[in-house]
């Protein structure tokens, strides 16, 4: 009976949760996040397409660099790129078995994200003082929608990173490999969020 119960328990384990399946070469969560990112490409792709359609159909369209704060956005671009580096460093430190430095790099990533959000808040505040609201015109409508949705993605990332810094890190004690995988997966998401900004920045601010 005992032997049976343990067999039953072993069956409960989902296969390929931590180690890659030999014939596909990935573990479950990694495939999952790539699929999720594919759907995110479709989400932002639809919004960018909407922007193109609205802009080509408009009689006049403001120049981004005349309406928005380009130096601040350039700085934000730099900050996000740095955060992409730190999240890779966190993952590589965890792979080396170094939890302490892994956590330091995760904290650095969170810090970068917070700097980005604070800068963004300054930008929004400035626009509101200038009486530029989403309803002002379609340029600001799409600007606030796209950057707002991107900002929500950043906030989501920060929440996940905070979880892995705090309660989520307990997993390190009993399953370090799985914890490292989780950082890799959230890292992939984070790179994607950065990549969206890399597209947003020239399209909204420079063109």
């Amino acid at each position: 009976m005992d032997a049976h119960a343990s067999v039953g328990h072993a069956e409960l384990e989902i296969p390929y949760n931590v180690h890659p399946r030999p014939d596909t070469g990935v573990y479950n969560a990694k495939l999952g996040i790539w699929l999720f990112l594919a759907s995110e490409v479709m989400l932002f792709g639809a919004l960018f397409s909407s922007l193109i359609l609205l802009r080509t159909g408009a009689e006049t369209w403001p120049r981004g660099y005349e309406m928005l704060n380009v130096p601040l956005a350039t700085f934000n671009t730099f900050i996000l790129i740095v955060s992409s580096v730190t999240v890779v460093m966190a993952w590589s430190q965890l792979r080396l078995g170094n939890l302490k430095w892994g956590r330091i790099y995760i904290s650095a990533t969170i810090l970068c994200a917070l700097i980005f959000l604070v800068n963004k808040a300054f930008e929004y505040g400035h626009e509101f003082r200038e009486h530029n609201f989403p309803k002002t015109n379609n340029f600001f409508a799409i600007y606030f929608t796209l950057t707002g949705l991107h900002g929500l993605h950043i906030i989501g990332g920060v929440i996940v990173f905070l979880y892995f810094l705090g309660p989520g890190a307990k997993m390190w004690a009993h399953d370090p490999e799985r914890f490292t995988n989780r950082i890799e997966v959230v890292g992939l998401y984070w790179h994607f969020v950065d990549l969206v900004w890399i597209f947003l920045f020239p399209v909204l601010y420079l063109m």
Binding site: M1, H4, A5, V7, G8, E11, L12, E13, I14, P15, Y16, R21, T24, V26, Y27, N28, A29, L31, G32, L35, F36, A38, S39, E40, M42, L43, F44, G45, A46, L47, S50, L53, L54, G57, A58, E59, F133, P134, K135, T136, N137, N138, A141, I142, F144, T145, L149
Partner: protein, 638 residues
């Protein structure tokens, strides 16, 4: 008597089927000893029944919720049909809508619009998709591919708990000031943007439903790719798994643009933007004060980019179910299995490049129309391949006319009518006449109602013994089938005649106010409405049959003579585990797959059907070279 295969169990030789029976019985006894249905894992009831992570229970949650929503959507339709059949007549039943929508039991036009919008929304997003993917997919895919559960059980739970609140928000919108959404299930702006508050609720509800589908589809794809059993290559999948696989990709990639569109429309309604509002819009004699410069066609593009793949989300799982039932009911492999699989994949790709055939009348130009009518004609080919393969599969089969088989057989011509009547709509010239008429309603209802919903009924009758260990009553199943079959055609077939005569859709009096429509509307609408009521009555035996057996099963009354594989199926959900399946992990030992999905009556094999996980009898090495291998395999006549 047929020859039976013998296998070696320990040191003994046993008949394979007897060995299996004994093994299953032993497993069931062990399960019972472990403490009832949920084994030794003593989870609190809220983790077992509300926030369960077991794919089978989540599948049942989806199934029950979706069936309730299907019933609700059907009831809304009955109210609409009462109005269409006898316009302006007072009905007591109409008073459930309240004095503001139906004063004295006479339905108001704006209330008719609300019923229409919510009938479509509920049937598609809350009824069929959750039933086809959430319920059938969740319950069966892990069992059919030999997986212990879905790849992400918690995500699976969250997916259901995004769907349920989405549904509740949709229901709550009926009580919003000004009523629920009334701009059709398509929510075309500018009407939807200037509509009452219910539309905002609709959009928020949609965001929940889209999130649910998204999480579900990621889970399905990862489960199918990563957790399929050893030896289960893609060409050994049961066709149902292929259908769910392609469906998941459609959900994954087509839903985000609708999410984007819903966000933009929410911005238009809440933040006062003008994404979908053109300049100079005048509503009720008043110029709108918004900035303008938006484009209503942008919504249509984003919406149909989702909604055309959505059509295939509605039909592919149904085809999967029908394929399973037909292979089992004809006792032979599916004809052209490989071409069906490739057709399904091709269909998935093509469904992303046909969306603008819904927009031929928007003035988008003849070049673009020509492109989309060409792709639309191309996409009809894979559908025809699948349907033809299913028809040819019947040829020469010794068909068992069980209740599920009746529904599956009815699906074929019904989907055929629905599909073929779609061709004139895909041709830009013919569409000018037919667009927005009852012909369109007839076309897509033939695909979805006697098509998909019949397949769903077939699936329920077919897999009910899997879930409960009891069979649904066959006689009442036949009563359900035949009355439904007659009535549903009585509702939808006259719609083609109405549409060809030019009766527009979405008219709350069914066309009585138009000279060209009046005659045919008066001739056909009462008959169609009576058929609708007949269809409602036909569901009574099904509902009673379903609950009688479901409640008995819940009380632990199993059909003792039934066994685990009552349909003598080859796929693993039947053959490799008990009915109902083990609560945790599905299989005592994860099965290994040795053969294709439908090995019925294989020439040269003594067994009538060979389950996928049955190894070929190992042929003992000839000793001394005197014994031929074929005679060395023990065979005995029983």
């Amino acid at each position: 008597m047929a020859l039976r295969r013998q296998i070696r169990v320990g040191s003994q030789w046993m008949y394979a089927d007897e060995a299996h029976k004994a093994l299953r019985e032993a497993l069931r006894v062990m399960e019972d000893e472990k403490g009832g249905e949920h084994g030794g894992h003593h989870l609190p009831w809220i983790r077992r029944y509300v926030f369960s992570t077991d794919h089978k229970w989540i599948g049942l949650q989806y199934g029950f919720t979706a069936l309730l929503f299907l019933m609700l959507g059907f009831c809304l339709m009955i109210l609409m049909r009462l109005q269409l059949g006898w316009p302006g007549t007072a009905f007591n039943v109409m008073k459930v809508l309240g004095e503001s929508r139906a004063p004295g039991g006479v339905l108001l036009p704006e209330a008719y619009n609300q019923l229409g919008a919510m009938h479509g929304t509920i049937m598609i997003f809350l009824g069929i998709v959750p039933l086809a993917v959430g319920a059938f997919g969740n319950y069966l895919v892990p069992l059919q591919i030999g997986a212990p559960d879905m790849a992400f059980p918690k995500l699976n739970m969250i997916s259901y708990w995004c769907y349920a609140p989405g549904g509740l928000i949709m229901l709550a919108s009926f009580f919003a000031p000004g009523g629920t959404a009334q701009s059709g299930w398509t929510s075309y702006p500018p009407l939807s943007v200037i509509a009452s508050q219910g539309q905002t609720w609709w959009l928020v509800g949609m965001v929940f439903l889209i999130t649910s589908s998204l999480l579900g589809s990621v889970n399905f794809i990862v489960t199918i790719v990563q957790l399929r059993a050893k030896g289960l290559s893609y060409m050994r999948f049961p066709f149902f798994v292929h259908a769910q696989f392609v469906t998941s990709f459609l959900l994954l990639l087509a839903f985000p643009p609708l999410e984007a569109a819903a966000v933009l429309q929410l911005m238009d309604r809440v933040a006062g933007t003008s994404f979908f509002l053109p300049s100079g819009l005048v509503v009720s004699g008043q110029a709108l004060t918004n900035a303008g410069g938006g484009n209503p066609l942008l919504w249509q593009h984003l919406f149909w980019f989702l909604a055309h793949p959505e059509v295939y989300v509605l039909i592919l799982p149904a085809m999967g179910i029908v394929a399973e039932i037909i292979a089992n009911g004809t006792r032979k492999p599916l004809w052209g299995y490989k071409s069906m699989v490739f057709a399904t994949v091709f269909l998935g790709f093509m469904s992303f490049v046909v969306w603008a055939h819904h927009m031929f009348l928007t003035g988008m130009g003849t070049t673009i129309s020509a492109f989309f009518q060409t792709t639309t004609m191309i996409i009809s080919i894979p559908s025809v391949i699948i349907l033809s393969s299913l028809f040819i599969s019947l040829w020469g089969g010794s068909i068992r006319f069980t209740t599920p088989m009746l529904f599956a057989l009815a699906f074929l011509p019904m989907f055929g009518i629905g599909g073929l009547t779609g061709l004139p709509l895909g041709l830009a010239a013919a569409d000018i006449h037919l667009h927005d008429t009852y012909y369109v309603i007839g076309h897509f209802h033939y695909v979805v109602a006697p098509g998909t919903i019949f397949a769903m009924f077939g699936g329920i009758y077919y897999w009910f013994p899997k879930v409960t260990g009891r069979k649904l009553n066959d006689f009442w199943g036949r009563v359900h089938f035949w009355i439904s079959f007659v009535c549903i055609n009585g509702i939808f077939f006259p719609m083609f005649a109405q549409g060809l005569a030019g009766v527009s859709r979405r008219l709350y009096d069914g066309g009585m106010q138009y000279a060209h429509a009046k005659q045919i509307a008066a001739q056909t609408n009462p008959f169609m409405s009576i058929c609708a009521i007949g269809l409602l009555v036909a569901q009574v035996p099904f509902i009673l049959n379903f609950f009688y057996n479901a409640i008995h099963a819940a009380l632990g009354h199993r059909d003792e003579g039934l066994g685990s594989n009552p349909w003598e199926a080859t796929t693993m959900e039947w053959a490799a585990t008990t009915s109902p399946p083990l609560a945790h992990g599905n299989f005592e030992v994860l099965p290994v797959v040795y053969r294709g999905p439908y090995e019925y009556n294989v020439p040269g094999e003594e067994a009538e059907f060979i389950p996928q996980h049955m190894p070929a009898v190992p042929e003992p090495a000839p000793r001394g070279g005197t014994l031929l291998p074929s005679t060395a395999v023990a065979m005995r006549e029983n």
